[in-house]
Symmetry: C2
Subunit: 197 residues, 2 copies
DNA sequence: AAAGCGAGACTGACCAGTCGGTTTGCCAGA
DNA sequence: TCTGGCAAACCGACTGGTCAGTCTCGCTTT
């Protein structure tokens, strides 16, 4: 396991790290590649060696975090038996993960919106992935009889929106704390589909 | 009421109209001022006579729509007596207004996010206005005894997020239709605070 | 004639992306 | 164990297109 670097982290990782920091702080358009170069202590050449362009560098971050989130949710879900319990742990895991990874959350939730059509496509794609995950498990909850039938698609998107907005606010202002979010949002969402804990 | 224009619409309005069209279609950064010039059949000079810069032109649109929305919600609310009924018509009015004004909605909900700090500030400001409106009326519902006590601040933001996300999806894809949104989202949100129609 | 309004050619800062060059790691052959 | 050769990884000065904003001029209205 030999690296060609004095630095323990690979160049690619250093770039991703720096990009995450700056993008999450300034947003896509206000971030200059040269800032990423400085922060990562690499060079333009290195960036363009590892990534085709600025856009793809950004999207790599989005994908990276979306993958992580999905993996965690799936891992958590399979432990539970079908029905509302799966829905609950899915929500818990999302909230937890966002809480633990504030900067990636900001990139995914905030910075990836309103950047033009390429980014919107990506955001839709990611959203659809998660909304679908929720919808499937809600549907199962209905089948299993945990909750009454409802329009799971709309509910799934509404839930995501609710989570996003509260998290975004927390990302911006540090308030309300994850603790409080968990205590209010989780029961509220479950109640919204007619499930009283 | 004499204008110095052959065209019935004032120049300022033509600019705002064109800007709305293009911004909502392409987003802030992908919109060229020259496109707005073409679409509005005016000139750079006219734009810079009426607006200090591109950013302010965009924000003028955001404000314009936020004002409209707030006015409508307030008008609707005063007709009802305090408590959950006010909450219900506030939601109804929001959903209705977004439904009727698709392009402005897109500007407010999508294009104003992720554009850097100036825009985020504005978005927060607008959000806070509406979240507060909701929170106040929820608080009253609690006082009046329509619903059990809860963390109205978190709920308010969660509701806004839920509405936003579903509306955004509709704006993008045309689906689900406002009808369906109304039928699912409204009861769901009310249920989330423990109020069964 | 002066103010109000608008036209549109022009400018210059900015910054993503390029490109010729260097360094490093690795291996084959002697 | 040295050597030379090669490619992958990396460096950073430079470029060229882009576009927000400026500026000068002209028309219209009072």
């Amino acid at each position: 396991m030999i690296t060609n670097n004095k630095n323990p982290q690979s160049t690619r990782e250093r770039i991703l790290d720096a990009a995450l920091n700056i993008f999450s702080r300034k947003g896509y358009y206000d971030t200059r590649l040269d800032e990423i170069v400085d922060e990562s202590a690499t060079s333009k050449g290195a960036i363009y060696f590892h990534f085709p362009n600025k856009e793809q560098l950004f999207l790599a971050l989005v994908d990276q975090f979306a993958d992580l989130l999905e993996r965690r949710v799936n891992e958590a879900i399979v432990q539970e038996e079908q029905g509302i319990q799966r829905v609950r742990v899915a929500l818990e895991t999302c909230l937890n993960t966002f809480g633990r990874y504030r900067r990636p959350a900001k990139i995914l939730l905030v910075q990836a919106a309103g950047l033009g059509n390429t980014f919107e496509k990506k955001r839709n794609e990611v959203n659809e992935r998660f909304a679908n995950l929720i919808a499937v498990n809600l549907e199962e909850s209905v089948t299993v009889g945990d909750i009454a039938p409802l329009d799971v698609e709309v509910v799934a998107f509404a839930w995501m929106g609710a989570i996003y907005e509260v998290i975004i606010r927390w990302v911006h202002t540090g308030d309300p704390e994850p603790e409080r979010i968990m205590q209010t949002l989780l029961p509220m969402l479950l109640r919204s589909v007619g499930y009283e804990q």
